[in-house]
Amino acid sequence: MIPYLAKRLLTGLLTLLAASIIVFSVLEVLPGDPARIMLGMNASPEALAALRMEMGIDQPVLARYLDWVAGLATGDFGRSYTYSTPVIDLIAERVAVSLPLALLALALSTLIALPVGVYAASRRGTLSDTLTMGLAQVGVAIPNFWFAMLLVYVFAVGLRLVPAGGFPGWDQGILQGLAALLLPAVSLALPQAAILARVTRSAMLEVLGEDYIRTARAKGLPRRAVLWRHALRNALIPVLTIMGLQFAFLLAGTIIIENVFYLPGLGRLVFQAISQRDLIVVEGVVMLLVATVIAVNMLVDVCYAIADPRLRTAR
């Protein structure tokens, strides 16, 4: 396990390096001049040149890349062109929204999906199985932003139960912050929960067909005990895989939801930074997200090993 993890760490770092080259060169070809965007239509050429120098984008490409990578290695993400504050501060502010949102959504989705999936699997072929899985099918098919739009109109505009959007900041109180994240988390979580429930069910069904389930039944354990004590843990591997993927998606793939709820999250930071050509911010966030995906994958691997002792030694 340890040498395996060491190897994973090494490939992870190589992946990051490759990612940094890709991100940097992709953004290099991005048309548009950040200085021009800052100063607008009437800016004089001198003003533009002065600003470019201030931003440091008058340097040659390679020098800028090496500078940037060296900075990354020491935790310095550079300074934002537009905000002229350290990129790391910008990211930190946004992560304070995106991370809790992703975690909340993941928690909601897991809390809904696991029991539903196990229940449906244990009732395979019955009406309640067909109904819950039919609902899950519909859930998978709903675009989350459409769902979010509907939620806003019902719960925020109609019933005025929660804010329609925006984020007050955690300093306004945990409860307020959670209230602001509730609808976005629900709209992110439900389609994910539908997927996870389906995965859980099919993983459970597969496990329930295994020989050791029969062994457990032959011991005299009733169905329910077999389901929870023997089947669930074995079914966790595919479920964990999907959860890992979903977490990565939730952290990065929420631009649309962040737009619908005008949450100051990572997705919107990047979206805005791309349109303002604040490339250094884009680069920083993308690298952070890539690193997160790699870390989550490793974490999932560790979870595999916790769930399945075979993987502790096999690797």
Binding site: P3, Y212, R214, T215, A216, A218, L221, R223, R310
Partner: protein, 538 residues
């Protein structure tokens, strides 16, 4: 009164009848053998007793166990019986244990569930039980996970689970089929002693008459969901009153007729294996230390003359299949040389191998897995024609396929069918047809009959013998089953831990083994005649 009394049990699954009016009884402390070929319904009978039938199954009739009708018993009552009064051992030890729970947990679980014992007490009992099945705590602590044990050890754990509460009836469904002969003998011995010590009744299910003959006092023979014959083991198997019983018994001791091995003079060697070694790298478990590689084949040398039939015998994992793959040039040796028709194979490119491949074909064990299910028989059998230097025209191709099919006793019309339309024995014939279509000099057969039912196995062995005689093709049989070796080989090599430990004419090795591994294999091999003799002595 008997412990288990099955009367007129009928069973259908989704409308398909599986069992028809089965009646069977087992007395207290009695060992009953239940024998039948695949599809005879013997496993379903066991599952019906355990109340673990598939969802769609419907049972009629009665199963009286210790005064309770199991067919009518509610699920809760069955849960109380299972694991307490009824224990069951399954065929596949590799999958019968939950991989994420320790063996201690799995043995103790049933004890806690039924007796309400606390964790410590249950573990003490589990420890004792594991000790009884030959897994003493010193080497096998309760915290071991199943994947840390070998197949035989896992089967012992399964037996410990089944016997932990001293059930009145133990059902063992093909408990040794997945194990090699030596392990089989050990497990059977273990079952025998447990049954004797605890006074359990045992329902032993097997396809192997010899196994049952050795263990059971009474025997029931099933076929197509019906009981053919039942009675005292020795009597039934010696008298063979029922035609099906006779057919089974004869098939399991069948020796094909072979003309005397072609010429006593030593023909030129077809295959020469010299000092062949094959190492596999082992994954590092610790950082910075590279573990020594695993040596699967260890300096093996032998020669196979043209037209001769040779057996390579050994326990599972001894390296015999690895050796076969290297001979077939599907794998390359780490060291040593393999010469076929005088030319070295180990360093040839795939292109340079073509003329040799034409003369060397293969037949695999699994008649299900050895065909691409999406191709018709014609295409499957014709595949090696790819090796010919000149591509045959479609008509020539069909002609060759037709000829090969008729040589293995199938009809040329069969070439239009898909493999799943054939039975297991027929499929093995197709695989032999594929192997002979290029008129090879050597066929390597890796366990070619071990997945087949006894009666079909006899027919396929006949076919092998016949082709050897007619086409003069040499065989290398890879097998753990000595009856195969006895039936159709001239010479036997015994392989153990990667080395060839003994080699000689078949009769000599089988009757007078000289080395310990060879003797162990031969002693452990079930033999119907010997078993019946022993039964008589008992």
């Amino acid at each position: 009164m008997s412990l288990l009394e099955i009367e007129n049990l009928s069973l259908d699954i989704g409308g398909t009848p599986i069992l028809k009016d089965i009646s069977l009884s087992i007395g207290r402390g009695e060992v009953m053998g239940l024998v039948g070929e695949s599809g005879s319904g013997k496993s379903m009978t066991a599952l019906a007793v355990m109340g673990l039938l598939p969802h769609a199954a419907r049972a009629r009739g009665s199963i009286m166990f210790d005064g309770i009708d199991l067919v009518a018993a509610p699920e809760a009552a069955m849960c109380r019986l299972r694991g307490d009064d009824l224990g069951m051992v399954f065929q596949e030890p590799m999958t019968a244990l939950n991989p994420v729970k320790t063996i201690g947990e799995q043995v103790a679980e049933g004890i806690r569930w039924h007796t309400g014992a606390n964790r410590a007490d249950a573990e003490t009992r589990a420890r004792a039980m594991l000790h009884r099945v030959g897994l003493p705590e010193a080497q096998f602590p309760l915290t071991r996970y199943p994947h840390e044990l070998s197949g035989g050890q896992r089967q012992r754990v399964v037996i410990a689970i089944a016997c932990a509460l001293k059930p009145k009836l133990l059902i063992a469904d093909e408990p040794t089929t997945a194990l090699d002969v030596v392990l089989q003998a050990q497990i059977l011995k273990l079952l025998k002693s447990l049954v004797a010590e605890d006074g359990m009744s045992l329902l032993l299910i097997s396809h192997d008459l010899a196994v049952v003959a050795d263990m059971a006092e009474r025997i029931t023979i099933m076929r197509h969901g019906e009981v053919m014959e039942a009675g005292n083991t020795k009597q039934t198997l010696s008298q063979r009153a029922h035609p099906y019983t006779r057919q089974l018994a004869e098939a399991s001791t069948h020796v094909p007729h072979r003309p005397q091995s072609p010429g006593q003079s030593k023909p030129a060697p077809l295959l020469q294996v010299k000092e062949v070694v094959r190492d596999y790298p082992v994954r590092a478990r610790r950082l910075f230390t590279r573990p020594a590689p695993f040596r699967a084949v260890d300096h093996v040398s032998f020669e196979l003359p043209a037209g001769r039939s040779m057996a390579l015998v050994g326990r599972s994992g001894c390296g015999k299949s690895t050796l076969a793959r290297m001979i077939l040039a599907l794998d390359r040796p780490t060291a040593g040389s393999i010469r076929f028709q005088g030319e070295a194979l180990e360093d040839k490119s795939e292109d340079a191998l073509r003329p040799h491949r034409r003369n060397m074909q293969v037949v695999f064990q699994d008649p299900y897995g050895s065909f691409n299910p999406r191709h018709k028989v014609e295409r499957l059998v014709a595949e090696p024609l790819h090796l010919l230097d000149r591509r045959p025209s479609p008509a020539e191709r069909r002609e060759s396929v037709a000829e090969a099919l008729s040589q293995v006793g199938l009809s040329p019309a069969d070439m239009e069918k898909y493999p799943h339309e054939f039975s297991g024995g027929q499929r093995q014939r197709i695989s032999i047809a594929r192997a002979i279509i290029t008129r090879p000099k050597l066929i390597v057969a890796d366990e070619p009959v071990s997945a087949l039912d006894v009666s079909i196995r006899a027919q396929v062995l006949d076919l092998f013998a016949d082709l050897n005689a007619r086409l003069g093709v040499a065989y290398l049989f890879i097998t753990h089953d000595l009856t195969v070796a006895r039936a159709i080989t001239d010479e036997v090599m015994v392989m153990h831990d990667g080395r060839i430990v003994e080699r000689g004419p078949t009769a000599r090795v089988l009757h007078h083994p000289e080395t310990v591994p060879a003797r162990a294999l031969i002693d452990a091999a079930p033999d119907l005649e010997r078993a019946l003799q022993r039964q008589g002595a008992a």
